[in-house]
Point group: C2
Chain length 220, copies 2
């Protein structure tokens, strides 16, 4: 029978001193999908190795990783884990940024999945079109398409389920960090051609959440 | 300042008898994204109202829901929640199908996100092409493209991190239910034109996981 498996941990063997090693986060030297994880560990005061890979080095490293994707979290044991929200939830549990109450946790999870939808809906808008036409479609999408609908829902959600400045409840959670990072990436990073940089101005509750994160002492 | 919010709970007001009401799962009368949630509640012996909506009734219902998407979970309080994996995790916590240990939980989460990637990679293959050409691309993708790579990784993962018949550890978890439902949906449902119905035959560990779920007394 076929065996597709190869050792994924060749890159880093557990060693005698492993218990003293911190968790390692591996990502590129950009905010992107690494940012909400770094924010959680900075805000949660969790010691970690902040490994930043150059884009040019990734093709050689990729086949040596378990999942072939970044961000990646490596435990002191050498075990590797992937998937942004999966890692976020683990870090959130360790830092108190992910609620223990299952209903509150479900609220946070809902937001994590929804900001991912925001990014993929923005990315899809105008896909395959020439630059000018794509930028036009993207702009329209941000004004009245699926991304706009998602932003409205998130804004509303914050009003309903969070105190001002928070997505859920009355203190900072993973949900705020993901909203901060994903709205920043989608709207003001310049990565998505055609998205107006003022696209968040109609969503005051989301702006308040951004401010909560941005003005946290561990961040600013 | 703009207010995008409207009441999302008009459809079901909390009532005096709410504490005796079970949780309600609302989805279409197909397996799809509802299946892993139903499986978790059947296997975990959790009482729930299995509300099945006809496709023709959805357009009228959609604007009355909080998120405009199914599956949807309604708590006895009337609060509505969406996002398949979010709901799965909540149900998994209630039924013991989601590990309490954060590392084991991270393993389960990794699988949940990866089967979602499997579905979107399969869906993307050949997108926008005519039927025949699309079917050809899909078949190729399942043999050597991104979906094939993901299936190989999942098969390997089960060998490494689970006892035979399990994705993670030595008992059934949410990860097994999601692998069962998503591989079933992607490969044998006929929903994705061009995917060979024997596409799982090269992955014996995944077939073993499927068998574990399919032969569970609460399922078969």
């Amino acid at each position: 029978s076929p065996d597709h498996c190869h050792s994924s941990n060749d890159r880093q063997k557990p060693s005698a001193s492993m218990s003293s090693k911190p968790i390692k986060l591996t990502y590129f030297d950009i905010p992107g999908r690494g940012e909400p994880l770094r924010l959680a560990m900075w805000i949660g005061d969790m010691k970690f190795e902040d490994e930043r890979i150059e884009f040019k080095d990734w093709p050689a490293l990729k086949p040596k990783t378990c999942w072939g994707s970044l961000p990646m979290l490596t435990l002191p044991s050498g075990e590797e884990f992937a998937q942004t929200r999966t890692l976020g939830r683990f870090v959130g549990k360790k830092t108190g940024l992910y609620p223990e109450d299952p209903v509150a946790a479900m609220r946070v999870d809902e937001i994590l999945d929804t900001v991912e939808d925001l990014q993929s809906a923005t990315n899809s808008a105008g896909q395959g079109l020439e630059k000018k036409e794509k930028e036009k479609k993207r702009k329209e999408a941000m004004e009245s398409g699926k991304p706009a609908k998602i932003l409205k829902k998130l804004d509303c959600y914050s009003k309903k389920h969070g105190k001002p400045g928070y997505m859920v409840g009355d203190k900072i959670t993973l949900a705020d960090l993901f909203v901060f990072s994903y709205t920043g990436f989608v709207i003001s990073s310049g990565f998505f051609d055609g998205v107006p940089t003022d696209a968040l101005n109609d969503y005051p509750s989301l702006l308040a959440v951004r401010k909560t994160v941005d003005s946290h002492p561990a961040v600013s």
